[in-house]
């Protein structure tokens, strides 16, 4: 397996955005629940999967996961099985959903990719939290609903806005300067 320069750079920069959203706390949207914040740090991972394919999604997810392990925002993230492993799947799921629905409608595919990517994060992380015994099942479930739903909505909207914006600058750059 070898990685093209394009894949290396894009995964790196998307990973950087994910870390940035974490360290500035900007990636945490205040939700009125006991656990505090909904996250949007996984959105760069979804974008990586949708725009550049599963490999970039996987690597960006790994960077996101590694960061949330090394600089954990919540105590149970200090366990690589909770913080790193589930994040590897976000980009891959987003990519698969996008590719399989793209031919129906591009915007619908983006909404679904964002929503499923986000749901993957919520379900797998909380699943691991429960399996590893950090929180009882009922608490995980209520966090899943209280956080997962706003995260899912924000992720779906942001994925559409951001991918459309990025696709627009890409097509305008491909065009010859004099038209």
């Amino acid at each position: 397996m070898s990685l093209s320069v394009r894949k290396i750079v894009i995964s790196g920069i998307l990973g950087a955005i994910s870390i940035l959203l974490g360290v500035t706390r900007l990636g945490f949207i205040p939700v009125p629940t006991p656990a505090g914040h909904a996250t949007i740090m996984h959105i760069p991972v979804i974008l990586g999967g949708v725009l550049e394919g599963p490999v970039v999604g996987l690597i960006t997810g790994a960077i996101f996961g590694l960061f949330s392990f090394l600089q954990p925002g919540a105590p149970f993230f200090a366990d690589p099985l909770v913080s790193v492993l589930p994040r590897l799947f976000i980009g891959i799921v987003a990519y698969l959903i996008y590719v399989s629905t793209k031919n129906i409608n591009n915007i619908l595919a983006l909404v679904l990719a964002g929503a499923f990517g986000s749901a993957t994060n919520t379900a797998l992380v909380l699943g691991m939290v429960t399996l590893r015994g950090y929180l009882p099942f009922e608490v995980s479930l209520s966090i899943g609903i209280l956080h997962g739903v706003p995260e899912l909505i924000v992720a779906a909207i942001l994925t559409v806005i951001l991918v459309k914006g990025i696709q627009r600058i890409r097509t305008s750059e491909d065009r010859p300067p004099v038209s």
Partner: protein, 275 residues
Amino acid sequence: MELTRNITLGVYLPGETAIHRLDPRTKIIAATMLITLLLFIKSYEAYGFFLIFTAGIIVFAGIPLSYALCGLKPMLPVLLLMWIFQFFLYSTPDANILFSWWIFTATDAGLHMGNIITLRVLFLFTVTTILTLTTSIVNLTDGLESLLKPLRKIGLPSQELVMTMIIALRFVLILAEELDKIIKAQMARGVAFDRGSFIQKTRKLFPVFLPLFINAFKRAEELIVAMEARSYSGGKGRTKMKTLHMGRVDLGAGLIMLLFTILMIYIIISAAPQI
């Protein structure tokens, strides 16, 4: 809103201490060892020794303590909240109940779990911060590349993955400055980020994220061109101008690390029956 002030990840504090002069490979291995140990430590005595050890490194490396810890500041409220969560919600069948109120029951098992996990978070943070504060990005890259080289044999593009990680670390600060500018520009136009309901606050973030991502992708395209123009090709047949050498300092550090690890493993094993 000064975003860049509290970022200590990926910042390098140049210095001349023995810790700075250590071979990056020694430092990376030591940090990995410390992180692995942290995942198994479950007793307060072990954390006591760990505190002394990390405090020793911080003093020895001449890192200002306030600087080493300022990255922790934004995390504190969340940490406290999660500690309360663990305290009230985690319990084992044989735990002693300390007190109960409404549907919440506080047990000593929950208290222990909350304490241990919070300490683990604090130390994980400190160890990674010390590593990046005392190791320049170039050294970190060289060290990681040389340590992960054997993985190439099983088909993993280790050099390329290290490059990805380094780009991520490097761009955090660049993008933070850009984010700062975007936010200031929006505030100058009268956007109040700290006011409004949850939905209003979230909507205010959209005009920040779009320029951030678009700028990031523009920078990515520039970097791709720059790297391709210099024929970057990952690991194949690349040699280094500066090669890494282990010295006497590394031997000393390695010995100290070994002793500390043995001490920790001894404490972990002797404390194993009580979880």
